[in-house]
């Protein structure tokens, strides 16, 4: 058990993939790195595990600089996106592999393998080969192999993203409850923001350019994104982004959308922020969950008239895309209520939930002042 520090690490081949990236994970902390696919998340894990050597920077585990240490001398357990199970060995032998490598006696080995297998509900599969079990069971086997190792650091690379929704829910619950996983430093990599929000004690959002855009607690990231990249990466459907200009009319501040007629009053809470920023051009972000179709105007919310472009009833929510004065807005709705394309609706917009970003840099105005 140890604390993990990644210190200004760099790695590139023909172009830089990881660029002076730093973060640390405390003992017992679950740290999630979220980012689009192909952005270098796996490379980062490989650098931590020692499968790749960094061009510069250090990996410090439990206070000791392990940058130059080969992987088999580190006490790191990692799952691979492809599971990387040994196809010629049984599930039992696969899980036992780290124990054999460390010459744990056969009896003790067997006991621990069975214990982990029971925990992961694969104890009935121990004699099968990886080719004979389902995807979810393969993932559990891979997980078992890492859990049994009793490592200082856990690295998990997209462990559940290739599984069916139902098994994903089940395994996510398991990640929450596995004590072994919760008592050491864990780095979990995913492209799915909901996995990140659900599991992470803290989350790092990785953007293009090999840097962490923002590191913070789930609520911080979702409710106070540092910049547009973070705001756009978290959330499905994606946050509404509107280019707008700040205008003043009879002492009231307005935001007028660049494309079209749409006009929002500025909420009281945000007025000071925008005035301090002082620029006319602003990028406005509004999460779809804060736009709702309503029967008639209610208090506090700003009503808009819009024409429905698309409506899709999904599972727990419905998604509506509507055109409001030349601006396409995505809203989350109740899926039970059906809407037809072309229909006119009144949308209530919660103006206090706006995020404001600098039009040029995309940085949240919160962070500029």
């Amino acid at each position: 058990m140890a604390r993990l520090e990644v210190d200004e690490i760099c790695k590139g081949w023909d172009f830089p993939v990881i660029d002076e990236l730093s973060f640390s994970v405390d003992e017992g902390e679950f740290f999630v790195i979220v980012g689009a696919s192909g952005i270098g998340k796996t490379t980062l894990l490989r650098l931590i595990s020692g499968l790749e050597t960094p061009d510069a920077g250090r990996v410090i585990i439990g206070g000791a600089d392990q940058t130059k240490l080969p992987p088999y001398k580190r006490r790191i357990a990692m799952t691979f996106e492809s599971y990387a199970l040994y196809p010629h060995l049984s599930v039992h032998e696969n899980i036992a592999s780290p124990l054999r490598a460390r010459k744990v006696p056969a009896k003790e080995r067997d006991r621990r393998v069975k214990e982990v297998a029971r925990l992961l509900k694969i104890d009935h599969l121990l004699n099968r080969r990886p080719g004979e079990v389902s995807g979810g069971q393969k993932q559990r086997t891979a997980l078992g192999r890492t859990l049994v190792a009793d490592p200082e650091i856990f690295l998990l690379d997209e462990p559940i993203s290739h599984l069916d929704a139902k098994i994903r829910h089940e395994l996510r619950t398991q990640f929450h409850t596995l004590e072994d996983l919760r008592k050491v430093a864990t780095v979990y990599v995913t492209h799915d923001y909901s996995e990140a929000l659900s599991l992470g004690d803290r989350i790092g959002v990785m953007g293009a350019g090999g840097k962490l855009e923002q590191v913070g607690a789930p609520r911080d990231l979702f409710e106070r994104p540092a910049n547009l990249t973070v705001a756009e990466h978290l959330g499905q459907p994606t946050i509404n982004v509107i280019g707008a200009r700040l205008q003043s009319e009879d002492g009231t501040l307005f935001l007028r959308a660049d494309s079209g007629e749409l006009k929002f009053p500025v909420g009281k809470s945000n007025r000071a922020l925008l005035e301090r920023h002082g620029k006319e051009k602003i990028t406005v972000g509004l999460r779809p969950q804060f736009i709702k179709p309503i029967e008639e105007a209610e208090d506090g919310a700003e009503p808009l008239t819009a024409e429905i472009d698309v409506f899709e009833p999904l599972g727990a929510t419905g998604i509506m895309i509507a055109n409001a004065g030349g601006v396409r807005l995505t809203a989350l709705t109740n899926p039970e209520k059906h809407f037809e394309p072309g229909q006119t609706v009144t949308l209530a917009v919660d103006v206090d939930r706006f995020h404001f970003f600098d039009a040029d840099s995309g940085v949240n105005l919160d962070r500029l002042n």
């Binding site: 929000l197 659900s198 978290l234 959330g235 459907p237 899709e312 599972g315 727990a316």
Partner: protein, 366 residues
């Protein structure tokens, strides 16, 4: 324009011990211009069904009609069906324009017509700006659209899409869903979308046909499948997050009927219609189901009491995994919810949302 009907269709592969009944007594009516999704887990028979519609597979028994005409014995090229596959299958040495024009060229359409058709379809699919590019220069989403375009360009009467989105990443998939839906609205063509992903199926289709174990389980729109699933399979397969199921004893006295969940002190109250049905059939025990989104932290008159095991913040919402006795189940809560492990919660529900199934047949009781 075409209307499709499958009547008592069966597909049997092999003989003797290796005999597999892949599709069993399947009936399905697809209206003209309708968008129907064929949904089911892998191995449920949906791919065999689709291959029979297209003509890639012979029909063991039963018939398929297009606009009332029996096409069961026709060759695929005589059926006027187009199909887009999961893999893009574009010709790498052709430009996008040449790829799109190819099906027309094969059929000897003159060049001027070809050109105008390509422009038209490119417009609809929003790929006009990449007509000169080669497939290798395109993103996954663009390739997928070109491949759709190539299937659509010869104006088939029935258009079949086979798992076309299963390997796109989440953001791209989302955009494609909207594109497809718009495409259907603009072309007004009969479309069949085959998938194992319920979110795609529910989002796109006017009606969803749920298959399992070679049989059609239920055909209906989202609300029907969600609120009145025909059996346990449909209730379990449709729904994200997954439906909570409980084994429960039926407790009836003169005044009211309740369902006592085994291994816990949970009590579910069904609505009057279901209660009446239960009184008629008098089962001792049932399988009860309720969806997580129908269990909320609210002061509804009926509620389930439980303790929180996990509170997962998911951004737009929070998901609570709760327990009572040895029973675990899930509920949805607003994202602001700050309840931590071990705290007691009262999860209110509407009796109309309690689904009750026969434990033997697993059919809905109502």
């Amino acid at each position: 324009m075409s209307q499709v009907s499958l009547r008592e269709v069966n597909k049997i592969y092999g003989e003797g011990a290796g005999r597999v009944h892949a599709v069993q007594d399947l009936n399905l009516e697809i209206g003209d211009g309708e968008f129907v999704a064929l949904l089911g887990p892998s191995g449920c028979g949906k791919t065999s069904t689709l291959r029979m519609i297209v003509g890639l597979e012979t029909i063991t028994s039963g018939d398929i009609f297009f606009d009332g005409r029996n096409i069961s014995r026709l060759e695929p090229q005589d059926r006027n069906v187009a199909m887009a596959f999961e893999t893009y299958a574009l010709y790498p040495n052709f430009t996008v324009e040449e790829n799109l024009a190819f099906p027309l060229e094969v059929r000897g359409v003159v060049e001027a017509t070809r050109r105008s058709k390509v422009r038209e379809i490119a417009e609809i699919l929003r790929i006009s700006d990449i007509l000169g590019s080669h497939p290798s220069e395109l993103s996954g989403g663009q390739q997928q659209r070109v491949s759709l375009g190539r299937a659509l360009i010869r104006e088939p009467s029935v258009f079949i899409l086979d798992e076309v989105m299963s390997h796109l990443d989440a953001h791209l998939k989302f955009r494609m869903l909207f594109d497809l839906k718009r495409l259907h609205r603009e072309l007004k063509r009969t479309m069949v979308y085959v998938t194992h992903d319920q979110v795609e199926a529910l989002a796109l289709a006017d009606r969803v046909a749920v298959m399992s174990n070679a049989r059609m389980q239920q055909v209906g729109d989202r609300n029907t499948l969600y609120n009145r699933p025909a059996n346990v399979f449909v209730a379990d397969f449709i729904g994200e997050p997954p439906t909570n199921f409980f084994r429960a004893r039926v407790v009836a006295d003169d005044s009211r009927l309740t369902l006592a969940v085994e291994d816990s002190d949970l009590v579910l109250v069904p609505d009057e219609g279901t209660a009446a049905a239960l009184k008629r059939s008098e089962p001792k025990s049932v399988i009860a189901g309720i969806r997580p989104q129908n269990l909320n932290l609210s002061d509804k008159p009926v509620a389930l009491n439980a303790r929180v095991a996990i509170n997962e913040y998911l951004g737009e919402r929070s998901m609570l995994t709760v327990y009572n006795g040895s029973i675990r189940f899930r509920a949805l809560a607003p994202p602001e919810t700050r309840i931590s492990r071990g705290e007691a919660v009262r999860l209110g529900y509407d009796p109309a949302n309690v689904m009750v199934f026969d434990p033997e047949t697993e059919l809905l009781i109502s």
